[in-house]
């Protein structure tokens, strides 16, 4: 060990030149990084803030509710939490065989409004039923007639998945949620075409 340290000291003189070069390189890299990221790493009083990339990496591991909460923490967190890739991860995490390739799924969902919207509108309500919806199972399933509002479409479906909130979703459930998303998309499209009269 002693030898190791003394070598370190000798190496020091050689290193001084290298150190200067290394520091200059380091500075260039940091400047580059700062230009690439909109938010500079801010060392607040006593706290270490993470930059956008690291926050993204952390978000990859959280569940939907935490991500939804996180988007309200600050503007930087909001921007990062909106990323479609994160919501895609959350949506597909519990999906078993979905019957098509990931890239295919991605293009369809992104065209219809994105994974975040898909999750918020059709996955979350179906996997976390509130106590009131369970009691209204019998009343809603027969009485809901097809109406122009898209939200009523969701009601008769609650009994289908209410029984197992954390089961892996199969092809049927996935197709169902995608169908609902496309219906909503086309409804909105129609409204804008026909104008305020309808």
């Amino acid at each position: 060990m002693k030898r190791g340290f003394s070598m370190a000291e000798e190496g020091d003189n050689k290193m001084k030149k290298l150190k200067v070069e290394e520091e200059e390189e380091g500075e260039d890299k940091i400047e580059q990084q700062q230009q690439e990221e909109e938010v500079v790493i801010v060392q607040g009083p006593g706290f270490t803030n993470l930059d956008d990339n690291l926050i993204f990496e952390v978000f990859k591991h959280v569940d939907a509710r935490t991500l939804g909460m996180a988007s309200c923490v600050s503007k930087q967190w909001h921007k990062t939490a909106q990323d479609e890739r994160l919501w895609e991860l959350i949506c597909t995490r519990h999906w078993a065989n979905i019957g098509c390739g990931n890239q295919q799924l991605r293009s369809v969902v992104l065209a219809l409004g994105g994974f975040r919207r898909l999750h918020s509108l059709y996955i979350w309500p179906l996997t976390r039923p509130s106590p009131s919806s369970l009691s209204s199972l019998s009343s809603s399933s027969s009485s809901s007639a097809p109406s122009s509002s898209s939200s009523s479409w969701a009601a008769p479906l609650k009994p289908v998945v209410a029984a197992k909130p954390h089961a892996r979703w199969g092809k049927d459930e996935v197709n169902l949620s995608l169908s609902l998303l496309s219906i909503r998309f086309y409804e909105k499209m129609n409204y804008s075409n026909r104008g305020p009269g309808r």
């Binding site: 993470l50 959280v62 935490t66 988007s71 923490v73």
Partner: protein
Amino acid sequence: MSTSTDNNASITQESGPSAAVQDIQKKIVVRTADGEVFNLKEEVAMEIDIIKTFFQEDSISYETVMPLPNVEGWEMVKVIEYCTKHVELKHKVDGYKERKAFQALFVQNLSTKSLLALTNTANYLEVKYLLDFLCQAVSEQIKNKDVDYVRELFGVENDFNDEEYEQVKAEAPWAHENLNNDLH
């Protein structure tokens, strides 16, 4: 070959990749921001990509002390600890339980501030699996917590005004219900 008997001879060899001819375990020396010097086993040092890249340059010999100006001494200790364990477990057939136990201990006494600092360091040093683990540990700290708790924990300032906050909250109102009461 004639000087191969001395254990530390590899360090005093002539500079350059010719040192690779020796099959004695080589050491790599780094210096952190606070001036602490660390001797790493070569196989552990090579787990750290930024070090690996540095020493892959032909003109850099293993005698060189690599400076790590963005790393504190205590962080280096932790990184070395993790990488050493990782290398050890590489050779084991079923190290899953051992890895889990080690990981639990690793973060046990780390404050959030330290955890965040270490995450930044793992990112800088480019140790992918350590970064991944640390990000997961950070995510555990924010799961099912409310906005105020997270802001305080991370020292993040709320830069929304009231109106903006209500707007973003409305994007996912379900995320703010029954938070700390959640059984899941």
